[in-house]
């Protein structure tokens, strides 16, 4: 293909990628390096239905002039990244010097919002992703073995958790696991403990969020792997049977190796998705026990004072986090790709 034709060929996708991916990401990166102008504060007398008080207020004219001169705000370099609400370099260094033991240091580290969120985010990602793969495969194999007339309905039912909007799904479950809800009350009955509350204890909240995550994402792995199972060569399977391979051996040595590209694909998607865990934390009102990087971004943009620079910095760090997570998988597929080429 001549170069010119090639360029025209990819131009539409290139343009949309620039517009929809590169430009927004670039603008967020720029935003993360800036903070708002220094506010000019003046003392004024404010009156409300209850009384008059002297208090500080923002001088709007001075502020408007500053904003007009430099709409982006003040350049702050990477200071937003290193402040206490993010990587907290100063606080971490201080904690390191003051700590008597590693445990002590760990406790101090987890008192910082970013590291606290990172711990939950990583735990969630590394527990949910493998379970989603395993359960997805198990369900796919199960459904594949069913007689034809029940296959359709069972595929539909297995997909349901994914069809439910994450926020709605978690809200529904939030009320079901309430001490007076059907799941919460049942658990109390099973464990014979009237004070058992999934919402009150931190470990149980984490377990609940993780179980929810697995429940919600398994259908995705299932449907991809089920599609993959349809392409496993029947001849090889039959040959393996004739050679005396058990069902487990056929899965282990024929079906799974055949589906490795799919498994890599699911792993990639799951690592990315789970690292961005957010909806269940809001839906389950769990922010007191578990926070994630995405939740930090949400929290910065919430309320009367929105911290745009802060949110931008957290977003960039989330992207970097995803890149680090995906690195091993990407390197592996790159190597495979090269082997196939040569």
């Amino acid at each position: 293909m001549p170069h010119r034709t090639f360029i025209y060929f990819i131009l539409p996708s290139l343009l949309s990628m620039i517009l929809l991916i590169a430009v927004p990401v670039f603008s967020v990166i720029v935003q993360s390096f800036f903070v708002e102008h220094e506010q000019v504060l003046i003392e004024v007398e404010n009156c409300n239905p209850f009384k008059c008080v002297k208090s500080l207020s923002v001088d709007q004219q001075a502020g408007a002039k500053l904003r007009q001169e430099a709409p982006l705000g003040r350049f702050n370099g990477i200071n937003t990244y290193t402040n206490r609400n993010h990587l907290a370099f100063d606080e971490v260094a201080l904690a390191w010097m003051e700590s008597k033991s590693l445990v002590d240091f760990g406790a101090k580290l987890l008192n910082l919002p970013f590291y606290k969120a990172l711990l939950f985010t990583l735990t969630y990602t590394f527990i949910v992703s493998p379970f989603v793969l395993i359960f997805g495969l198990a369900i796919a194999l199960g459904v594949n073995g069913l007689p034809k007339f029940v296959k359709g309905p069972s595929i539909f039912v297995s997909l349901l958790p994914m069809i439910v909007t994450p926020l709605i799904g978690s809200l529904i479950l939030f009320w079901m696991i309430d001490a007076k809800g059907i799941l919460g009350a049942t658990l109390q009955l099973i464990f014979d403990d009237n004070n058992l509350s999934l919402k009150a204890s931190m470990p149980l909240t984490w377990v609940m969020l993780i179980v929810y995550g697995i429940w919600h994402s398994t259908p995705f792995a299932f449907i991809v792997l089920y599609a993959g199972l349809q392409t496993v060569p029947q001849e090889t399977l039959e040959a393996a049977s004739i050679d005396g391979a058990t069902r487990w051996e056929r899965i282990r040595h024929v079906a799974v190796p055949h589906m490795v590209p799919l498994i890599i694909f699911i792993t990639l998607m799951q690592l990315m998705d789970n690292f961005r865990v957010f909806e269940p934390i809001v839906g389950f009102s769990a922010s007191a026990k578990a926070t994630s990087l995405s939740w930090i971004i949400f929290n910065d943009l919430h309320g009367d004072s929105k911290l745009f620079g802060s949110a931008a910095a957290s977003s960039i760090m989330t992207i970097i986090g995803v890149m680090i997570l995906l690195m091993p998988v990407l390197i592996r597929s790159w190597k495979n790709f090269n082997i196939k080429l040569h």
């Binding site: 506010q39 003392e43 008080v53 609400n85 309320g303 911290l307």
Partner: protein
Amino acid sequence: MKKIKILPLVFAGIIIMGSSAFAKCGINSGKISVLANDFPALHAVVSTAEECAGGGVTFSKNHTAKHNEISVPALTANPAQYSVKIVANSSIVPLLNNDLIRPLNDLVAKYGQHLKKNQLITVDGKIMAIAFMANAQHLFVRKDILDQVGHDIPKTYEEVLAACKAIRDAGIMQYPFAMLSKPDWNLGEEFVNMYLGHGGVFFKPGTAEPAVNNKKGVATLKMLKALTSYSNPDFLTFNSATVAPIWEAGNLALAELWGSTGGQILDAKGSTEKITSNTLLVSAPRVGGGNIPASSLWWDGFTIARNISEKDAEASFRAMLHGISDEMVKKNNDKSVWLMDAYVPGKAAAGVFATASGGSQPYPMLPYMGILHMASSKELPDFLQGNESAEQTLADIEAAYISGAKEKGFL
């Protein structure tokens, strides 16, 4: 044929509507659009203002709990997306900081001579909003249960703790108390209330530097923790929507809730006669030997966007005046604690009234208060769950605030 018959009717209708709008609000043209929070009292005001629609007056409204998320961008647009924004103490601050609402002195002079002085919210002498209702968090009590354990209605939080203990010891309820302790915005409000009750000051005078890490701060945190020990272990998920049904189900004896929740709790829906008739709305308790109720006073009022035409501003102002007219108050007396003269305080208003007359402080209308509020919401759960000391939590609140305030340019 049919069309021809209908047309005159339509015209007649428009003329009648137009003239009635003119009679009611005195306006005959202009574009009015209102952005407001979503609760019954505001629906009453905005729907009454909507009666001004018709003729040359177009009216649109948007009631949403997410009003604060969209208000700044919507009013920054020129012309602004909304001509009226209904605000409270805290939500007016971003609009003031960005210079998005206009002073109302001229309009008040022309049309608002009947407004009471305490309805005029002034900043540096300029009227920026017209307040029409008040709200505050205060104590809700179940008289029958207090009688059972022989306690009077608590006047202080120390008495609240004693009453809770008595109720627990008597085996009536394991968790008799609730407050709005969900760490989104609610928990920060509890901190603000309790700290004000202790006579605390949030910032070093004349600066935006935080000053909550002190004895009063520690006492505030200890009291919050003592109270939550009588609250269901799920307390970190409690907001108004969660607590009101628990109260209505009869599973609470004492609670610190918004006055505006009173209507819902006292009505016949979702509860029994025994519970509603024994529910009393009383002043927020004092705390730690302080002499004012530990609560902050809130007002709701309307503002007029800056980026709209003079004609629309005038129409919007006059329509909103109709919205808060005596006529509206008479029809919706029990929906809120109205500031207008026509208001007759009912049972649902008793708590807010007592709290305000007890001398409690208005919520600070400072440009950087929102940052401290969110910082305390975010850091308090660590203390309430027993993970760290009160001093550490207060230090964390200050540190989180400083990072945010630096980014916003206040420090």
